[in-house]
Assembly symmetry: C2
Homo-oligomer: 459 residues x 2
C-alpha cells in the first residue's frame, strides 16, 4: 500500500526541484553585510512558502541580528509536539573561481544539485517544508503538532539565538526537537546523531624572568619558561593517553550495552582510519576503539603552544615566556564549569617553580546526549529504515554544536539530529551539492517520522 503523501511527493518532483532552485538562488550569506537584503529576502521567501502550504502563525521575527522565521500547526490534540530547527543562511562562496557552476545558479548534474546551501542547510530545510506540504495537501492535517523555526545566523555562530529561545520559551515548547543539519555516515545509510561532545578550555601563560635571557650567561641558573610549561603540560596525560586530572572522568557516562550494539552495527575499521591519517599507529585512551575515543570519551587537547625562538636555525636564548592553548571535548554528564575548575586545581597542584602561571578560560559549551532508547530516537530510526530499506545507524559525534546544547538546556527537550547530507558534499567549500536521492527520501522519511511519532505518548 502506497501512502497518499508518498504518491503526492512522487508526482510533484519537478515542482519541488523548481522551488528548491528558487530558494537556493537567494544569496543569503550571513557573514557579509552586502547580503543583508538577500537575508531578508530569504526569510520572506520562507514565510510565504510556509503560508502557502498551510502552516499557521507564520512570522518573520526580528532579532538584533538577522530575522528568525517561525510557523506552526498545532491542531493535533493529545498528540506530541515537535519543534523543527534549521537555518536559511549560507557560508561565503570564495574562492569563486573554483566553482564549476556559479554558487547561486543551482544546477543539477549526476543526480546532485550544486549550489551554495544545497546541503547546508537550505536543501534540508526545504525538505521539511515540502514534507509538511505533502501531509497537509493529502490529509488536510498533520499527524502531530509542528512548530518550526529557521534562523539566519547559524554560519556566524548563532549570536542571537540563545536569547531568542530564552525569550520565547513558551512559544517554542515541544516534546522533541528535530534538526536536519548533520550527515549520514555513508551513502544509502540513514543516520541519527544522538549525542555531541561539549567544549571547554583555557590558555596557560607562563612568565619567568622580565626578559628573554642569554642562555650562556643565565642558562642553568633561572627557570626556563619553556621547561616550566613542558613540565606542567606533561602532567595532564599519562604515557598511554589517559587524562590525569583528578576527577576528570568521574561524571562520564559509561557506554551502555545498547550503545555497544549500535557501535558494532557500524562495522568500523580502525586500520582504514590509521592509513588515511598516515600515522604509524592510532593512539588514545586504552580500552577503547578510535570511534569510542572520539565520540564517547572526553579529551584534553593542546591546540597550540609556543615559547622562545621559532625561526630557522639556532638562537641560544633562554625564553622568559611560554604559552599553551588547551581545549577539552566533553561528554555527558561532564559539566564545563566543573571540568574547568578541576583543571585549575590540577595546575595549582603542579605549578612549576621559579615562574608565575596565568590562566585565561575560553567559552564553554555543554555536551548533549538523547538516550539511544528514547522513543523519539527509535521512532526516527524506524522511519528512516523503512524509507531507505536498511538499518539506521545510531552515532555520537565527536564535534560540538553549541546551539544544540543551548536548546537542550533552555527548553529541556530531547533532541533528534536526523540529517541527510554526506561528508563529500563540500559544505563550506566550492561546489557544495546535495544528493537529490536524499532530498526525495528525506521528505518521505520526515512524513513517515511524523506518523510514527503520532503513536507515541510523551510524559
Amino acid at each position: 500500500m502506497v501512502n497518499k503523501w508518498i504518491e503526492y511527493l512522487e508526482q510533484n518532483k519537478d515542482q519541488q526541484l523548481m522551488k528548491l532552485k528558487e530558494f537556493l538562488k537567494i544569496p543569503s550569506v550571513s557573514a557579509l553585510s552586502k547580503h543583508k537584503k538577500d537575508i531578508h529576502k530569504a526569510a520572506r521567501w520562507l514565510s510565504n512558502e510556509l503560508e502557502r502550504i498551510g502552516m499557521e502563525n507564520v512570522k518573520v521575527m526580528e532579532t538584533e541580528g538577522h530575522p528568525i522565521v517561525y510557523a506552526d500547526w498545532i491542531h493535533a490534540d493529545h498528540k506530541p509536539t515537535v519543534l523543527i530547527y534549521g537555518h536559511y543562511d549560507v557560508q561565503p562562496v570564495d574562492p569563486l573561481h573554483l566553482w564549476e557552476t556559479p554558487p547561486f545558479e543551482p544546477t543539477v548534474r549526476d543526480g546532485k544539485i550544486f549550489a551554495r546551501g544545497a546541503s547546508d542547510d537550505k536543501g534540508q530545510v526545504f525538505m521539511h517544508i515540502k514534507a509538511l506540504e505533502a501531509l497537509l495537501k493529502t490529509e488536510g492535517k498533520l499527524p502531530i503538532n509542528i512548530k518550526i523555526i529557521i534562523e539566519g545566523e547559524e554560519e556566524i555562530g548563532s549570536p542571537h539565538l540563545p536569547k531568542f529561545i530564552e525569550e520565547n520559551k513558551e512559544l517554542l515548547q515541544a516534546d522533541v526537537l528535530v534538526i536536519s543539519d548533520t550527515g549520514m555516515i555513508e551513502k544509502g545509510k540513514p543516520s541519527i546523531t544522538y549525542g555531541l561532545r561539549g567544549l571547554t578550555g583555557l590558555q596557560i601563560d607562563i612568565q619567568g624572568a622580565k626578559t628573554d635571557l642569554h642562555s650562556g650567561a643565565y642558562g642553568g641558573g633561572v627557570q626556563n619558561a619553556a621547561h616550566a610549561l613542558v613540565q606542567l603540560l606533561s602532567t595532564f596525560h599519562d604515557e598511554e593517553g589517559r587524562i590525569m586530572v583528578d576527577g576528570f572522568y568521574d561524571n562520564v557516562l559509561s557506554i551502555t550495552d545498547e550503545e555497544k550494539q549500535a557501535i558494532n552495527a557500524l562495522q568500523l575499521d580502525d586500520e582504514k582510519v590509521r592509513t588515511e591519517l598516515g600515522v604509524p599507529e592510532l593512539f588514545g585512551e586504552p580500552g577503547y576503539s578510535f570511534y569510542e575515543r572520539t565520540s564517547y570519551r572526553p579529551t584534553l587537547e593542546i591546540n597550540g603552544m609556543y615559547s622562545g625562538f621559532q625561526e630557522e636555525g639556532i638562537k641560544t636564548v633562554l625564553p622568559n615566556q611560554a604559552s599553551a592553548k588547551i581545549t577539552c571535548r566533553l561528554v555527558p554528564n561532564q559539566e564545563p564549569e566543573q571540568i574547568l575548575e578541576l583543571i585549575k586545581q590540577h595546575i595549582e597542584k603542579h605549578k612549576p617553580k621559579g615562574v608565575t602561571v596565568k590562566i585565561t578560560p575560553f567559552d564553554s559549551g555543554a555536551p548533549f546526549v538523547t538516550p539511544l532508547n528514547h522513543p523519539a530516537i527509535q521512532a526516527a530510526g524506524r522511519a528512516a529504515s523503512k524509507i531507505y530499506g536498511t538499518e539506521t545507524a545510531y552515532i555520537r559525534s565527536g564535534g560540538s554544536i553549541p546551539i544544540v546544547a543551548d536548546f537542550a538546556q533552555i527548553l529541556q527537550v530531547p533532541i533528534v539530529l536526523l540529517g541527510f547530507s554526506l561528508d563529500s558534499e563540500n559544505f563550506h567549500a566550492p561546489n557544495e551539492h546535495f544528493h537529490l536521492e536524499n532530498f526525495y527520501k528525506g521528505m518521505q522519511t520526515m512524513c513517515e517520522y511524523w506518523n510514527e511519532l503520532a503513536e507515541i505518548r510523551f510524559k
Copy 2:
C-alpha cells in the same frame, strides 16, 4: 721604584690617545661589503704601527675573507713565547640615530672614549701594541718572545680563522695564548676568565597525522604532536632541574677547592640576581649557587618550541606537527659529539607513540678551561693585582667563544683571557665606549705580565 716603561707610558698619554682615535676612525665593519676598503685600511694601519714600534716579520696575510695581521719579536732566548690574539673588525652601528656622537668620530667624555670598537676590540688590541712599544722603546727588547695575530672577521664568526690556524700551526706555536676581548666583573676589579662553556644542540621535529585535524572529529583517537613533544621534552629534566640524560654529567669536572676559594672571593649575591631578573625564585640544579650553575655546570635548554595554533583566541585544532630547538652549554670535559649521541639515545628511549621523530643536529663548540693553578693564569693575576692594587677575580663564564676552543684544540696551548672591558660599555650597541682608566692600566698590566712570565719555565 717606578719602572722605565711605566714612566714612558705616563709621559706618552696624549700620543697614545691620538693614535687610538686614528685607529678607531677607520670604519672596519666586517659584516658590510661596502666597508671592505676600510677593513684593508685597518689591517694596513696596524701593520704600519707594528713595524713602527719595532715588531718584526710584520705581514698582512690574506685569507679567503678579510686579512689577518701578523707580527713577532722572538729574540728572548730560553724565555716563554706568548701568542696574542685580537681583532680589528667591528660590529655595524645601527641604529645610528641613537649615538650621541658619531660612531667613527672618537670622542672623550667623563674619562671614557666613545666610538664603535672602543672596547670591542680595537681599544684592547691597541693597548697591547702600546705596551709592546713601551717595553721596546725603554728596554730595547721584550722580556719574552711575542707573536701577535689580529683578525678582521671576529664579528662575523671567524669563518676563516680555524683553517688559518691549522695552516700556520708552526708560525703560531707558543707557550701561552693571551686574549684581551673579555670583561671585568666590576669596575676596578681586574678579572681573568679561565674557562668557557661549550655548545651543542639539535632540533626535534615531531610528525603526527598527514595534516592538522579537527579536534572534535579526531580528538582522543590520534596522537597529538604537541602532546608527544611535551611528553618527550619532560623527560630531559627532573622537577628540580637536574638533567636526566643518562651519562650527561659523567665527564663533568668537579669544582676544585681552589675554584671554591676563587668563587667565595667574588662575594656574589644570588638575591640581587633574583631581583634583577624579576623571578619569584632562582631555579636550577640542586646543590649549586647561581654562578656555579651558570659557569661550572652544563645545561640542556629549550630555546624555542612550537606547535599548532599561535594566534589570539581559540582554534580547536589537533596539531600534526611540533618542534623544539635545544642547546646544551657544556663544561670540561664534556665532548660535544658524545653529548649529542647521549641525547639521541635518550630520545630513542623515550620516543612517544603514534608519531615519528626527526632529529637535526646544530653546530658544536668544545668547552675550555685552563687550570686555575696554571702558572700563566697565576702570573696574569699577580700582574693585574699589582697594577690595580686589588685582588684579581678568577672567573669562568657561562657563554661560549667558539674560536677559543678552536685555538685550544689546534694549538694545544693554555689560554688566558685577560680583558679590560666592562659590561656597561655597550659593545654591539650604540654609544660603545671604553674607560680610559682601563686602557691605561691595561697597558701597564700587560708590561707587568710579560715581565712576570719571563720568570717562568714552561714544559
